[in-house]
């Protein structure tokens, strides 16, 4: 017999928490706060997204748009990043706008602020002011370089953070054959914005536990640049352990091929493939039905293989040229060798694995009609990820929040709207 709890509406992990998300005031797209707040909203926290009146949050102006027709209410990025959020508008440059913000912060647990110290100070919403005024509040700064850094007011963003971190220099590393004409490369999309978002979400939860332990809020300083540097974590300690003459040390300084672990062309596209360890090398031998070139004396040790990577690549590409992505994937994985098809977004959307796990979710949005989008970044068995509310229209919840919750009258709301505070 089914237990009672199976009939309950599924709970959500972060129900009861209140989050306020401030808009980025920079012309440089910076979506970290939006991603951090989405993470909380999708887990059940109440998120109030504060947007500038009339123009709205920056992601409303960024594509993709349906049929490439820009519309601030139906852009893909807005629909995706603002799921499960309540939307209000506030002009933070106006004193009345800031007063209302402070009303929101008075009952909030966490605020995500994506702006540099200089604009914050100008508005009187810098972290010191907020922490002093709201001792229980967790104030999360998500900035290009960190709110206390010597670079705190330097402008950055996805491109700059990627390339100042060492990640860009290493991309695409093993595929560089003509360094002067192949500059270091950034990752597709806005990876460092979203990484910074997840970093901010993780750090905010840590600070929340700090508040549970000690009763007080605090400032959390999240730097996009440092978050990206964290992605080359293995390199960072390497330098203190190895001499300058070590092979791996030298390798970090030049963009050349040095390991058999990247993406290679095959019969109908590309695959990723790793034969980097002894076990994978032996597995690759079986998967490829033991070609003669793999018996070469030069290739019998890990070091030997690293030194003759061109030989391996030539052999591998030759084998792959007679295999489709699906065939290479199946044969390699049968021998426990890491090999995956390189999927385009279309391939991902149609993929059986993603389908079987119901990763993409269908969502009926009032302004945008049916939308399909990526769903849970992690499957929770008891508190499943779900969309309770689609992305808000600009100012959709002004009445609910400023009227019902803060208690402004209809007349006051009308005046604020007329004065363009909300």
């Amino acid at each position: 017999m089914a237990r009672f709890e199976e009939y309950r509406e599924p709970q959500r992990a972060l129900e009861g928490l209140k989050v306020v998300e401030l808009p980025s005031l920079d012309t440089m797209p910076f979506l970290a706060a939006s991603m951090a707040a989405k993470s909380f909203g999708d887990m059940g926290a109440e998120v109030i997204k504060v947007e500038p009146p009339r123009i709205g949050a920056l992601e409303r102006t960024l594509g993709p748009f349906r049929d490439e027709m820009p519309d601030p209410e139906t852009g893909g990025l807005h629909l995706y990043l603002n799921t499960n959020k309540l939307g209000v508008t506030l002009d933070l440059a106006r004193a009345r706008g800031r007063e209302l913000l402070f009303e929101l912060l008075a009952s909030a647990d966490i605020v995500f602020n994506p702006n540099r110290p200089a604009p914050n100070e100008k508005l009187g919403i810098d972290w010191r002011t907020l922490v002093a005024r709201f001792p229980k509040l967790i104030v999360v700064s998500l900035t290009f370089f960190g709110a206390e850094s010597p670079y705190k007011n330097v402008r950055g963003g996805d491109l700059v953070a990627t390339h100042m971190s060492g990640v860009g220099f290493e991309t695409p590393w093993h595929q560089v054959i003509d360094p002067p004409n192949q500059p270091p490369l950034k990752l597709g999309g806005r990876q460092s914005d979203y990484l910074t978002g997840y970093t901010g979400a993780a750090a905010a939860m840590c600070a929340l536990y700090g508040r549970i332990a000690n009763g007080t809020g605090q400032h959390v300083d999240v730097s996009q640049w440092l978050a990206m540097i964290g992605m080359v974590r293995p390199n960072l300690g390497f330098y203190s352990h190895e001499s300058h003459e070590a092979a791996a040390y030298k390798r970090l300084g030049v963009r050349v091929k040095s390991a058999g672990q990247w993406v290679y062309p095959c019969k109908d596209g590309w695959v990723s493939f790793s034969a980097g360890t002894e076990r994978f090398w032996q597995g690759a031998k079986k998967a490829m039905e033991h070609p003669e070139w793999m018996d070469s004396e030069l290739l019998q040790t890990v070091l030997g293989r690293a030194a003759h990577i061109d030989m391996i690549e030539a052999g591998l590409i030759d084998w792959l040229s007679t295999h489709t992505r699906a065939e290479a994937f199946e044969k390699a994985q049968a021998e426990h060798v890491p090999c995956f098809p390189v999927h385009s977004p279309a391939d991902v959307a149609a993929n059986e694995q993603y389908k079987a796990r119901r990763f993409f979710i269908e969502h009926d949005h009032p302004a945008a009609r049916e939308v399909r989008m990526p769903g849970a970044p992690c499957k929770f068995s008891r508190t499943p990820w779900r969309i309770v509310r689609g992305a808000p229209r600009l100012g959709e919840h002004n009445r609910k929040i400023f009227g019902e919750r803060i208690g402004l009258s209809e007349t006051e709301l009308a005046t604020l709207a007329a004065e363009r505070v909300i």
Binding site: Y194, T216, S274, P338, F340, H343, V348, S381
Partner: protein, 402 residues
């Protein structure tokens, strides 16, 4: 003095390689008692990835030491049932268990979620795998760098209209590991309110796909299958990496408005371009992007990298040097950030390793150097499980503690 946020929380950490150890490094720094369960029978590959001062050994990998901070290590040879029982006893006294083996591997040792939840009903357990616990391809093996191909990221990373590329920094292991911290603490928060634990099934590919909404939604809304666009951006130009004086020296410049473009032209002494109809407005710059990039590159070549960065920043433009890791370590702001720690390791002494990229105004993060393999075996068995010295000696004799 402030209490540590996660004081009193214990984590049975079966993780290895990068993603899960990165997540538990965060939790350990927050004061959780992270007990890493490992074995010389099947040691973490990273323990032998590099060797301090050129000598390779289980306790000499600088890469391992960089990631496995703030934890204890116990060795358990899980091939032996008695070791499995000890692991279960540790889990019974833990709040969280986490692992990133191939699907089903821990179940072979009777240490799957279905086994562990019987002895610890409110357990939170996270399994991180390339493609998740179910579905037709659940049993695949892979590291982050190979898995991101499946997730679509390699396809949109590359030079314009060119082949798909691999990504540096063993992306996305540490990005996913960071997200894991959020998921685990969200589950912990739920348990603390309701008394209910749960199982977290993380597919690395899926987490990566949540980080590429632009390309995914362009396909899902418009049927447009995006390819790589190099360092470019669809709404900014110039937005790229340009050569500067010297061999393989580069600068990254991102221009977000027409006003910013005019400032760039001033710094590069190409002011006529700012009023040239071919470049003055964003739409025109995007249309003529190749010519634009050629013109900019022709000018940047004449500058020394750091000098040009300083000039552009003085004009409030987004620009930065393209760094190799070693240069990151020497950047004065990185040095001042305190992200690089000096931690003591029992075999190789005090060395510099990275801490968290985040700082907190009211938490002093708790850092300790990576443990030697099994460094805390006796201590954990004695203090946590109350084993006698005799029993521990017998277990060592029987290769259970190996």
């Amino acid at each position: 003095m402030n209490k540590m946020p996660l004081a009193g929380i214990r984590i049975a950490d079966f993780g290895w390689i990068y993603a899960v150890p990165h997540a538990t490094a965060w939790l350990g720094a927050m004061g959780a008692d992270v007990i890493r369960i490992e074995s010389m029978r099947a040691p973490d590959l990273v323990r032998f990835l590099t060797g301090t001062d050129g000598i390779v050994g289980a306790n000499r990998s600088g890469v391992f030491h960089s990631i496995n901070t703030s934890r204890r290590s116990i060795v358990l040879n899980l091939a032996i049932p008695e070791a499995q029982q000890i692991a279960r006893e540790i889990v019974a006294k833990s709040d969280i268990a986490c692992e990133n083996f191939t699907v089903g591997n821990l179940s072979k040792y009777n240490l799957g979620y279905e086994d562990l939840v019987k002895i610890k009903p409110d357990l939170i357990m996270l399994s991180g795998t390339p493609l998740g616990q179910d579905g037709p391809f659940a049993r695949t093996v892979g590291f982050g760098p190979t898995t991101q191909a499946f997730a679509g990221l390699c396809h949109i990373t590359g030079y314009p209209d060119s082949f798909p590329c691999g990504i540096g920094g063993t992306w996305p292991d540490f990005a996913v590991g960071t997200a894991m911290v959020f998921f685990l603490l969200a589950a912990l928060h739920y348990r603390d309110r309701t008394g209910e634990g749960q199982y977290l099934d993380l597919s690395m590919a899926e987490t990566v796909t949540t980080m590429m909404p632009e390309a995914m939604l362009d396909f899902l809304m418009n049927g447009r299958d995006q390819g790589p666009i190099g360092n470019r951006d669809e709404a900014m130009a110039p937005h790229g990496v340009f050569p500067v004086a010297g061999d393989d020296q580069w600068i990254a410049i991102a221009i977000a408005s027409d006003t910013e473009f005019a400032k760039l032209c001033e710094v590069l002494s190409i002011s006529s371009m700012a009023t040239d109809p071919k470049f003055a407005k964003l739409v025109a710059r995007l249309k003529n992007v190749e010519e634009l990039e050629r013109e900019v590159a022709a000018r940047t070549r004449k500058f020394d990298r750091d000098g040009l960065v300083a000039k552009l920043r003085a004009h409030d433009l987004a620009a930065g040097p393209v760094y190799k890791t070693e240069e990151v370590l020497h950047d004065p702001a990185f040095v001042e950030s305190g992200m690089l720690l000096k931690l003591k390791h029992s075999e190789v002494g005090e060395r510099a390793v990275p801490g968290l990229p985040v700082s907190f105004s009211a938490i002093d993060l708790k850092y300790s150097g990576a443990p030697a393999i099994g460094e805390n075996t006796d201590e954990v068995l004695r203090e946590l499980l109350g084993y006698s010295a005799d029993k521990i000696a017998r277990l060592k004799e029987a290769n259970v503690l190996f």
